[in-house]
């Protein structure tokens, strides 16, 4: 951007949001251009310059968002909506410069309606702060993801987020009643907060999961719930993953609804579960929880335990389950012990990621085995590493698989970034070949966008045409969702 144009746009932005809400310091723009993306951090570690935004702008109202998008559209400059910054999928990085639109100052909780059990919030509200306010009044959002303390509602909507309690409370697409969205050309789009409707397609879903490519969500009406009278957790140890999946399938298909269920494969049980939660024993560990009215919890827990026992599960009691819940975030915090791994990973010496996917019960075990087998045969043996996974976010028809992989002996003479992309491509294609989807709840970002045509085939044209229609100059988050860059 030449100096004349830069000064002009800067002046316009300052006129819209005020000087204090336009950040242009070089180091700030660098920070917004890296986030938690492995590739960007690796570039930084290797001294490779990252593409930077020209401006970071903090709107404080929908009108300001509208004016910014009208300006950006007129000037044909990219706008990257930005929430809490927790994305590891490159969904919020300003690869084409322009404006990073940080929504976090739009953080008002406008209404909590205890009669209808809804809350109306601006999209920059932090999830933990919303949950804290709801809890104070006796309610819960039911949305407790690992990024609880940094992410905001707009980001969750953008990525179709799932929290720890999604098996009962649903994913973000199940939690939204209505949205207000500023379209790329500046018009305001809104839906009605009615729980049911027969007024054409559900247009909320055009923007839930759009990752900021079709509009900027400014406000949402969300469902909330009464705080459960009882919430309790248990640990179950199954002989293997197969018996654990079968037990959970039967639980779900009998309409018993745990608030939480996580089944760890044998490898994860023997490593992460042992190291973080001190739970020992060989097999597949399931942490399962129920909440709601005490009598219902008693009944559901008892029925679920019966099913687990019939499938060979050993009831470890409530203590391991409660311990798991209490320390559910602990291993996200780097420790002096784990820092070596982070150092290698974020220093660009090792690679690792999570290729979460989801499919139906008839395919899930084959999918899991195929991903594990492929990883070990193609990469794990050669570069040394680990692979494990767990099954969480259960549905009546299927379950999410959360396979995590890591390679820690990549020879210096090999290009680690190339290997990174190769592993991703391989894992994703194995998932697609076995009936899985590209992603379950992290979003597609720029990391997986290129696979969208492979997942949807000719149907991807529908999304491309919607994008072309709503955003003719491709200003909103270009390069994300496989919709094409600039």
């Amino acid at each position: 951007m030449d100096k004349y144009r830069y000064d002009l746009i800067h002046s316009e932005l300052v006129g819209i949001v005020g000087g204090e809400n336009v950040v242009v310091r070089d180091i700030d723009r660098t920070i917004y251009s890296i986030g938690r993306n492995w590739l960007a951090r690796t570039w930084m570690a290797q001294g490779i310059p990252v593409p930077k935004a020209d401006f970071v702008v903090h709107p404080t109202s929908e009108v300001e968002v509208q004016k910014i998008l009208i300006l950006a559209n007129k000037e044909n400059i990219p706008v990257v909506p930005f929430g809490g910054g927790s994305s590891g999928m490159g969904g919020n990085l300003p690869f084409y410069g322009g404006i990073v639109l940080d929504m976090k100052k739009m953080n008002k909780i406008r209404e909590i309606d205890g009669k209808s059990l809804t809350t109306t919030v601006e999209s920059g509200v932090n999830c933990w702060k919303l949950e804290d306010e709801l809890n104070r009044l006796g309610y819960t959002s039911g949305h407790i993801p690992a990024s609880f303390f940094c992410s905001c509602i707009g980001g969750y909507i953008a990525c179709r987020s799932a929290g720890r309690l999604s098996t009962k409370y649903g994913k973000m697409e199940d939690m939204i009643l209505a949205l207000r969205v500023v379209l790329p050309t500046g018009e305001i789009f809104h839906t009605m907060p009615a729980p049911g409707k027969a007024t054409g397609p559900e247009l909320n879903h055009l923007f839930i999961g759009c990752e900021g490519t079709l509009g900027v969500v400014t406000e949402a009406v969300m469902k909330i719930h009464n705080m459960p009278e009882e919430r309790r957790f248990r640990g179950i140890l199954f002989p293997d993953v197969h018996s654990g999946i079968e037990a959970m399938r039967k639980i779900m298909q009998n309409d018993i609804v745990p608030c939480l269920a996580r089944l760890y494969d044998e490898e994860e049980t023997a490593t992460r579960i042992r190291d973080t939660w001190g739970i020992t024993g060989s097999g597949a560990f399931l942490v399962i929880g129920f909440d709601g009215l005490r009598k219902m919890v008693d009944l559901e827990e008892s029925m679920a335990l019966d099913i687990c026992k019939k499938e060979g599960g050993k009831d470890l009691g409530s203590e391991p389950g409660e311990r798991w819940w209490e320390h559910k975030y602990d291993d996200y915090y780097p420790t002096p012990r784990s820092v070596k791994e982070y150092r290698a990973l974020l220093g660009g010496k090792e690679i690792g990621a999570t290729s979460d996917t989801c499919t139906t019960y008839d395919k899930i075990e084959d999918l899991y085995l195929a991903m594990r087998h492929t990883f070990w045969e193609k990469f794990g043996k050669k570069y040394k590493g680990w692979f494990y996974g767990h099954f969480s976010h259960w549905y009546k028809n299927g379950v999410m698989l959360y396979p995590r992989w890591h390679l820690y002996e990549v020879p210096k003479e090999e290009n680690i970034i190339e290997i990174y992309w190769k592993v991703w491509s391989t894992m994703v294609r194995v998932a697609l070949e076995h009936g899985g989807v590209l992603n379950h709840h992290h979003g597609i970002g720029t990391v997986l966008g290129r696979f969208m045509p492979e997942q949807y085939g000719d149907g991807f044209q529908v999304l491309k045409e919607i994008k072309r229609s709503l955003d003719p100059r491709n200003i909103l988050n270009p390069g994300v969702l496989g919709l094409g860059g600039r």
């Binding site: 180091i27 700030d28 930084m44 927790s86 915090y333």
Partner: protein, 374 residues
């Protein structure tokens, strides 16, 4: 301490997936990514790895990103001390002569006036001299008044002296020899000045026979008790916050709170008294001994209490940001149903006054309230 000496600790925060981002007091107000603990430490990581160099821009961020409240540590599964890491960066920045003008002005004011507020040293006890003191040179107790109490909240000192008088205790003040405790300078990376102040104050305190040093400012408490030994200037006396001492007087029956106070009271934990010095219960015990009160707790208390606006150094170099932060404390007090909010820190009182007035909540330092009830 320089960042190179604690690179392993900096890495831990730099690699963290933003787990305390919206916990952070400063980030919650500014909402700028470089102000959150993870990304501020990532900037230091870039410096340690030769990918960035200290600059005026980075210096500005390092002085704005942390108000020293330590709230992040209370939520951190690995107990990281972010203010320690920021202090190390600030020390580097001062040595590289890149510190913002406001910081160097504070330093110069301290050296010239012995306080960071640029108030005449001769006026230090001017506003508390109205009361008739019964000081004794051989007193067991030394009351270290502190800059914020002396220059901004002298009524708190009045109250402390009244309580000491009422309990018929032998006490003394340092008079002209009391200089700033050095905590603001220490927090801002002005370690040379902090050492000068520590040496001066400790030399004078240790040259007398005081067995107890009382402070009404939690920052003074932390400086004298924790920072001075780390700088090589330990105090040879027991160091207590006034709330602890009043608590023991009340508990032992040496101080009776005779009058009733018919209010719903809540208590705000000052960061340096609570999270830093771990004094949580003493002020509460004093309050609970007051007749007629209805004591209610706010939602987040003790080690998870919200910050009133940062430490003294932060409040002086970022007055507008600091003044904004405290609004949340008063909102919480209101939500808890508090008609009166009690704290135990002159800076908390200073920073919360406007917000409390706006919400029509009575605001007291613990000593002020106790004095009224004697």
């Amino acid at each position: 301490m320089h960042i190179g000496e604690i690179s392993d600790k900096i890495e831990i925060c730099a690699y963290c997936p933003l787990m305390c981002q919206d916990i952070c007091t400063v980030f919650s107000e500014t909402k700028i990514q470089s102000r959150c603990p993870t990304m501020q430490q990532y900037i230091l990581w870039l410096i340690l790895n030769g990918r960035e160099k200290y600059s005026r821009e980075i210096a500005e961020i390092m002085y704005e990103c942390c108000c020293g409240c330590l709230l992040c540590q209370s939520w951190c599964a690995t107990n990281q001390d972010v203010p320690e890491k920021v202090r190390a960066a600030r020390k580097d920045i001062v040595e590289l002569d890149l510190a913002p003008k406001s910081v160097m002005d504070l330093n110069q004011n301290t050296l010239e006036f012995h306080n960071p507020y640029k108030e005449p040293h001769s006026d230090r006890f001017r506003d508390i001299a109205r009361r008739k003191w019964h000081r004794r040179g051989d007193a067991e107790i030394l009351y270290f008044v502190g800059c914020t109490t002396a220059y901004r909240q002298p009524k708190i000192a009045d109250a402390v002296i009244a309580i000491l008088e009422h309990a018929n205790l032998n006490y003394d003040l340092m008079n002209g020899e009391e200089w700033c405790c050095g905590l603001p300078q220490w927090e801002l990376g002005l370690e040379k000045t902090a050492k000068t102040l520590a040496e001066h104050n400790s030399t004078h305190i240790n040259s007398s026979n005081h067995k107890i040093v009382l402070t009404s400012c939690p920052e003074c408490l932390y400086a004298l008790k924790k920072v001075y030994p780390s700088l090589g200037f330990p105090i040879n006396a027991g160091i207590y916050h006034v709330s602890e001492y009043i608590g023991s007087l009340v508990k032992d029956g040496n101080l009776a709170l005779k009058r009733s106070f018919d209010r719903t009271i809540t208590y705000h934990d000052p960061c340096y008294l609570g999270r830093h010095a771990k004094v949580f219960d003493a002020p509460r015990q004093v309050i609970k001994n007051i007749r007629g009160i209805d004591f209610v707790e706010m939602r987040w208390i003790k080690d998870k209490a919200y910050c009133c606006g940062g430490n003294e150094g932060f409040a002086i170099i970022h007055p507008e940001l600091s003044a904004t932060i405290g609004g949340k404390v008063i909102e919480e007090a209101e939500k808890a149903g508090g008609e009166a909010l009690v704290t135990a820190c002159p800076l908390c009182k200073e920073l919360l006054t406007k917000h409390a007035t706006d919400k029509n909540i009575e605001l007291y330092d613990l000593a002020e309230l106790v004095e009224q009830l004697l």
